[in-house]
């Protein structure tokens, strides 16, 4: 059997594309539960704030607390799927710790932005914090895949549209469409 240099180059290109596709799908599947979890947190905290404004100060801390615990459990369940001692397991652990550090940087960025901009109303704080994430998804999507970009784009459009056009029902909008788009996005990523 003879293989030409052109055939070898094409074969290596095919191998690279197949590997990239698997890595992309793995990223989608790993990210999916977190989108669903945080979509539920948005739904719970925003709708709770809208329907029971007298308990506004409780919904976000409780929602975020539940979200962090659920995310930790999801991460632990995912890491169990890797066989111990496998090369991919080490890579996965590095990925997990970097994701944790990235989340820390993003949280610090949000605190800094809120500190500098000093939003005056709950609606402004909500919009300012919430808008960071869809743009991160879009930026990540440029590298990781168009589905992630699309989720970010739809969520960002929902936040801006709600902020501008229906300020009096902003929390309800954020809960249903912001949270809903994250939940739907997570389910969509799982089906990839």
């Amino acid at each position: 059997m003879n293989v030409t240099r052109e055939e070898a180059a094409k074969a290596l290109d095919d191998i690279g594309k197949a590997s990239d596709r698997v890595i992309q799908l793995k990223g989608y599947h790993h990210g999916a539960p977190y989108f669903i979890i945080w979509g539920l947190v948005w739904l719970f905290a925003n709708c709770g704030t809208y329907f029971m404004p007298e308990n506004e100060k409780y919904f976000w801390p409780v929602g975020i607390g539940i979200g962090f615990v659920a995310s930790l459990i999801a991460g632990a369940l995912q890491s169990r799927k890797w066989p111990k001692g496998a090369t991919a397991s080490a890579a996965e652990r590095r990925f997990g710790s970097r994701m944790g550090m990235t989340a820390g940087v993003v949280m610090a960025f949000i605190v800094a932005i809120v500190f500098i901009a000093r939003p005056e109303s709950g609606r402004e704080v909500n919009a300012m914090i919430s808008i960071v994430f869809p743009f991160l998804y879009m930026a990540g999507g440029v590298w990781a895949g168009w589905r992630l970009f699309a989720i970010g784009f739809v969520t960002a459009a929902a936040i801006i549209g709600g902020y501008v056009w229906i300020p009096e029902h902003f929390e309800l909008w954020m809960g249903l469409f912001g949270g809903g788009s994250l939940i739907a996005g997570g389910i969509w990523l799982r089906t990839a």
Binding site: A8, D14, T87
Partner: protein, 100 residues
């Protein structure tokens, strides 16, 4: 650098992409037939033919079971399949770098 020749079973385009896809998974991980077919954009018949060739060579393992009442077929790269794939990739790289 490798002194081995091409692996005639793996080198065929669809089989090469099947092996590359399975090789990108952690060792022992199984991939559903439907998902593999979707990744490669292949037809049922084409996939079945090439999977059978790879299975006959001992390069992949095929597991069939039921989820509820629905039949499920999953495939994984065997240890010898992974080694054969790595040898073939080394051969291709060697050829491109002027060793062939």
């Amino acid at each position: 650098m490798t002194m081995d020749g091409p692996d005639e079973i793996i080198h065929q385009s669809t089989r090469l992409r099947i092996a590359a896809t399975l090789n990108a998974l952690p060792s022992g991980d199984l991939l559903e037939f439907g998902k593999l077919k979707s990744i490669l954009g292949a037809t049922d018949g084409n996939m079945a033919t090439h999977l059978a060739a790879l299975e006959k060579a001992g390069y992949i393992a095929v597991e069939k079971d039921f989820v509820g009442k629905k039949p499920r077929t999953r495939v994984s790269l065997t240890r010898s399949g992974r080694k054969a794939f790595e040898r073939h990739v080394a051969y291709l790289k060697d050829l491109l770098e002027g060793g062939g």
